[in-house]
């Protein structure tokens, strides 16, 4: 998909809670299996998808140096809404001072809810309906105790602010692509605390088929091959999948390394691909081309091609990189984790 007028990213911000639970601690409690990551980020007892979204939004506004009253759209992609009915987007809009002249809503599409919000924001900006549009992917994902998923489900998010391409934008969009089918690989019914998944069904017909479909579709539309991209970010439910999909698509480890944060953060669901993009923008140089492909169960992928612009260098000494949030950590044990994530009922 291409926009009628060129669109760029004017600001981005990520946030990762400081608590870390080591995979070895989960193995200690439930018995070992192959640990898919090192450790994961866990929200504190007073954090949720809304507070994470607000943190991301504030960092993005700081980096963009814009007046929040000029933001015309705020979309929060999440599968961990604190309220079943009452939008996260309104709370974020109020907290950053964007109310009341703003459209706000929440997007739901498992781990790709954040990039689905990118698509909507890009459309609103390129049509001229709004000057700035903010898309946020933020989650405090839950995994059933002793489920293999428990090793990876994590908390964190990132926000992007889109506007028309100019000298002030940090990167501009070349095109996007979405690839969606009805694939029941993972779901959570209403009022259930934990999701269910189709085990081996989550790989080939789900993650790989959709990411490869979206990546190849976008590259064909733009006339690019993997060699045209300096960096690539693929959704990161564990370490194995993004590494494998990069290889199959012809991308090197060097291309995915800056955005591969899952070993130290875990799978932040709707936050996963946006944080990977943020971490890549932290190190990219003007002229670098970045491929971004999300994956959301249910299922689908959104692919984007961004080209980094000169303005990215200006904020670099001033703004906090994703690595600052990865370095800021305190380890918790399984008991504290159970308390923080509401697994103990009094």
């Amino acid at each position: 998909m291409k926009t009628s007028r060129p669109v760029g990213i004017i600001g981005y911000g990520a946030y990762i809670p400081m608590n870390r639970l080591k995979a070895s601690e989960i193995s200690r409690v439930w018995g070992g299996c192959a640990e898919p990551i090192e450790e994961k980020a866990v929200a504190s007892i007073d954090e949720d998808a809304v507070t994470i979204a607000v943190e991301c939004a504030r960092y993005a506004i700081k980096r963009a140096k814009i007046d929040p009253r000029e933001i015309g759209a705020i979309y929060v992609g999440t599968e961990s809404k604190p309220y079943a009915v009452k939008p996260c987007g309104t709370i974020v809009a109020e907290a950053i001072g964007a109310t009341p002249h703003v459209t706000a809503a929440d997007y739901e599409f498992a781990c790709k809810a954040g990039t689905e919000a990118f698509q909507a924001c890009i459309g609103l900006v390129s049509s001229g309906m709004v000057k700035y549009a903010m898309a946020i992917g933020a989650d405090t994902a839950q995994g059933r105790p002793a489920d293999p998923l428990e090793y990876t489900v994590a908390c964190g998010g990132a926000a992007l602010i889109f506007t028309l391409k100019s000298e002030r934008t940090l990167a501009y969009l070349e095109g996007s692509y979405s690839y969606v089918t009805d694939t029941p690989d993972f779901w959570r019914r209403g009022l259930e605390m934990y999701p269910r998944h189709g085990n081996r069904f989550t790989g080939e017909p789900a993650y790989f088929r959709h990411i490869i479909g979206a990546a190849k579709g976008l590259m064909a539309e733009l006339g690019y091959g993997p060699e045209d991209f300096k960096y690539a970010v693929f959704h990161q439910p564990n370490v194995k999948f993004p590494v494998k999909v990069a290889k199959r698509l012809g991308f090197s480890m060097d291309a995915i390394k800056p955005g591969l944060i899952v070993p130290y953060v875990g799978n932040t669901y709707a936050g996963s691909t946006p944080i990977g993009l943020a971490a890549t923008l932290d190190v990219a140089e003007p002229g670098d081309r970045i491929l971004v492909v999300s994956y959301g169960s249910g299922a689908g992928s959104d692919a984007f091609s961004f080209v980094v612009q000169d303005a990215i260098m200006e904020g670099r000494p001033r703004d906090l990189p994703v690595s600052a949030f990865i370095a800021r950590k305190r380890y918790i044990d399984y008991s504290l984790y159970s308390r923080m994530r509401g697994k103990i009922h009094l």
């Binding site: 400081m18 949720d48 507070t51 906090l320 690595s323 800021r328």
Partner: protein, 133 residues
Amino acid sequence: MSVPRYWREIKYRYRLIGELCTECGAIIFPRRRLCPHCGCRELEECKLSETGTVLSWTVIQHPPKGYEKYAPYVVALIKLDDGAQILSQVVDVEPEEMRVGLRVEATFRRVREDGSSGIIEYGYKFRPIIEEP
């Protein structure tokens, strides 16, 4: 707190907005009807600084109703960089890491919730300033 009262306070709690006394220049938080320093009624809204320094602090072990799930937690008197003083929870810190002079910044957190079906009250808390590693 009742839902209407929470709703009236949202702007001030979410965005750290206080008042400036037009008579004596004092910065007032939370909002009052009159300036506690000179009694003036002409008060203007003003955005407070989001960074400050801890003046004193304590650990709350036995919290008031509605705050039980967060205990134990740290409450500190903070001097904001614009001169205002504010009482706030400090998070992402262990009690043994607290000290007078600690530099802190505002964050956005859950402050209180009305059971599992009621309203969730969000607002400011403070945390040690996040810096580049």
